[in-house]
Amino acid sequence: MTSIQVITKDNRTYYSDVLDEYFHLRHKVFVEERGWHDLRRPDGREMDAYDNDHATYLIALDKGRVIGGLRLYPTLLPHMISEAFPHLVKERGALTGATILECTRYFIVKERRTGRADCRLLAAFQQFCLEEGITEVTAVVEMWWLPRWHQAGFKVRPLGMPTLVEGQPCIAAAIRIFEESLERVSRLASLRGSFLSRDPRVSSDRDRVPHVAA
């Protein structure tokens, strides 16, 4: 049974093994499978400037093994869209705010892509953001993700036109966080109850989001 673990700076020391496996899998998925060779690292752990104390990870675990995950990052800080992809946003300039996060490095390991792992992670993502009072989450994704989000009941608005990134048509988009999306994705995969696992030692994300850009 897959559960989704929330990991932040407050509890990451308790999950160092999980995070280590997660960074190795990121390397496997994004560098070796997808061919994003700029991210290649000699130690086989894919990490970047946003893997810092401001990041929140939702990590899908099955029988103790990492099978997927995503990273959330405050948009009030310099983030991937503002720094690397501002040209993907129509109005020039990223969508930012205290209740807006950016989602990056979403993946499910290859052998679990035909099952319900995607739905579980997407449901956990909506649930976590609802609980944190998040209103929207921005992301740069390959275009073929849009119909999948749509089918999951996500409300997604494009922030700009599709643009080639690493040879693939990608788009900057904003996902609205709302209850109905959580219900839809849960129903789609016949998911019952919550499988989002949070530690009492993790403070609310909102407390950690700075209210001015650093």
Binding site: W144, R148, Q151, M161, P162, P169
Partner: protein, 243 residues
């Protein structure tokens, strides 16, 4: 050039906003007709891709196709041989029809289908494959005698097609079917999936074998299954039971 591409992004964003206000399939067809005509498109179809035991006409959500061509296409089961449909199943990227390969020797009908379409004015085309969650497959395929497909127009069309598809799906596709099986039927099928006979299952659940047989019969009926094995296979395939 930048003025032109600005037009295209405005066109795409306006179209996406307009879709939200549309409530019927006729309105979507009208809006698509208007907006896609600016790129040279005259015909389009929005359809799910059939499994081997499905007919394509049961999966078509929207269409603006010459009626005679649609009849010929569905009557002859062209979707089994259509190079565009075949490529759809293999790629997540949109493509032009002439990028869909067919080998005249292994797929002689492929050429006939493409030529037939051209006779109805559907000479060039652009197709957006959809690969959703849980194995859902569909496409939006559109065509015309002369298309304006350039590196500038394609991104706009790609985006517009994704949102047109989504609006059509929202309005027309049945929402995920609720599980038709009762709790007892599911339980019975789960035990069957684990190799238990009706007698075994009866003993486990504390009811008679006859009751179990009745549950299985009713599950077979709901799943249009020929027998218990078929019902178990269907229930697993459609994720109605888990083991």
């Amino acid at each position: 050039m930048s003025g032109r591409s600005l037009d295209q992004s405005t066109e795409a964003f306006d179209f996406i906003q307009e879709l939200d206000r549309l409530a019927t399939s006729d309105e979507i067809v009208d809006a698509m007709e208007r907006s896609f005509a600016r790129f040279g498109f005259e015909n389009f179809i929005v359809t799910g891709l059939p499994h081997p035991d499905q007919r394509i006409e049961t999966l078509v959500l929207l269409k603006k196709w010459p009626l005679d061509w649609y009849r010929r296409y569905t009557h002859n089961g062209y979707d089994r041989h259509d190079p565009v449909i075949r490529l759809c199943r293999q790629t997540v990227q949109p493509f032009e029809w002439d990028e869909a390969p067919y080998n005249p020797e292994t797929n002689p009908k492929g050429a006939a289908i493409m030529h037939g379409a051209a006779e109805f004015g559907m000479k060039q085309g652009y197709c957006l494959p959809i690969h959703g969650l849980n194995g859902f497959e569909a496409c939006l395929s559109m065509s015309g005698p002369q298309l304006d497909l350039t590196p500038q127009t394609k991104p706009a069309l790609h985006l517009m097609a994704i949102y047109a598809f989504e609006r059509a799906r929202q309005i027309l596709a049945p929402s995920p079917q609720p599980n038709p099986l009762t709790a007892r039927e599911k339980e019975t099928l789960r035990w069957a999936a684990l190799g238990k006979s009706a007698a075994d299952t009866g003993e486990i659940l504390g009811v008679t074998e006859r009751t179990i047989t009745a549950h299985i019969g009713s599950a077979c009926q709901k799943l249009s299954a020929a027998n218990k094995t078929h019902a178990v296979a269907r229930a697993l395939q459609h994720r109605l039971i888990e083991i």
